[in-house]
Symmetry: C2
Subunit: 199 residues, 2 copies
DNA sequence: CCTACCGATCGGTAGG
DNA sequence: CCTACCGATCGGTAGG
């Protein structure tokens, strides 16, 4: 009879994911060695290879889990039938909030995804596209002039992602501007600016 | 007597810088080997080490040259005593234009700077701060409410950098939106949004 | 300006 | 035939 999966299998997997994400973010994917990661997790390297077939699989799982969490958070915020403007701000706020304890994962998504083989990258990029889609829809809803095939929708949507995905370069927890503040600021910049552009 | 520097010393140095930047951007700093770079430049590895003491020095020089070019372009655009709004758009346009043939260098600045030792990073970050300073000043000039110690100046300035520094993720040469178009769009988003926020 | 190497360390896998 | 875990070490390649 097959040996059943250990009760804490998933907890251990999550712990490995969190620790390795921190090490990848700090030293980069190539420089964080499997030995370091095993040590950081308090397990043997052989056990690490029991959970993940190779280093790439570890990187893939970190980014996939992260993107799934972002998508879940944003889709939840996008669900209520709120007016366009409030819905966009809720989405931006949900995204920034999902980034709160995921700085390492965010940096890895931005900087290390290209280390993966093309098919794996494609699977992750599909999840990124899903995220972009929700924001583009919320934007087109809040500023009707951006819908209907306007050339402005893409650059404006990407401008919003630029702001939000760049926040980790300057934003500091406990500073004068909170995450909620910045969600409001970014939403205002985009909405008022887009209305002016479209008008 | 010391051997004089070859007439084409600087041309060769620039060529090495451009080729290695392309390889670092494509494969990442760690994976692009000095052997690959030497081959790509059509020189021996020993000659490469004649120009640069080590791999770090090469990385440092790529980013320093790049940042110096950005600063020069933006300071030139910032010089004319144009009205605040036009000056900001000129600065954004100059920055986006300086990025035109520097996609590799831009990616390296964003992704690989942390590979350098702290003092070298500091020297480069000082150049980044100089760039930020010019934009913050142009913004405060164009939207007076952002000046005078407003808490909004930093997040709004960083929002602008987010938009512009993120452009390489989606912008394609020859697409429906030109660099000039996007300079206008980003400037409008920031200016109209900031006025609405400050008001 | 070249090639032959070095000390160190990598990701990954062996038997049990 | 599966999964859980160890100590030891593999072949290759990096920067210099």
């Amino acid at each position: 009879m097959a040996r059943p999966r250990a009760d804490d299998y998933d907890d251990k997997r999550k712990a490995i994911l969190k620790t390795s994400a921190a090490l990848f973010a700090e030293h980069g994917f190539d420089r964080a060695s499997m030995n370091q990661i095993a040590q950081g997790c308090g397990v043997s390297k052989a056990l690490l290879y029991h959970y993940y077939a190779n280093k790439d699989a570890l990187l893939f799982d970190i980014i996939r889990d992260h993107l799934d969490e972002l998508n879940a958070a944003v889709e939840e915020a996008s669900a209520p039938a709120a007016p366009g403007e409030a819905r966009l701000e809720a989405c931006v706020g949900a995204l920034l909030d999902a980034y709160r304890d995921a700085n390492a994962e965010h940096k890895i998504q931005i900087n290390e995804m290209k280390r993966l083989p093309p098919e794996q990258q494609e699977e992750l990029k599909e999840r990124e596209r899903q995220l972009v889609k929700v924001f583009a829809a919320a934007l087109a809803d809040a500023v009707p002039a951006l819908g209907g095939g306007s050339e402005l929708l893409k650059p404006v949507t990407m401008s919003l992602f630029g702001m939000v995905n760049w926040h980790y370069m300057w934003f500091r927890e406990g500073g004068p501007v909170s995450r909620e503040d910045y969600a409001r600021i970014a939403t205002r910049l985009i909405l008022d600016g887009a209305r002016s552009l479209a008008g």
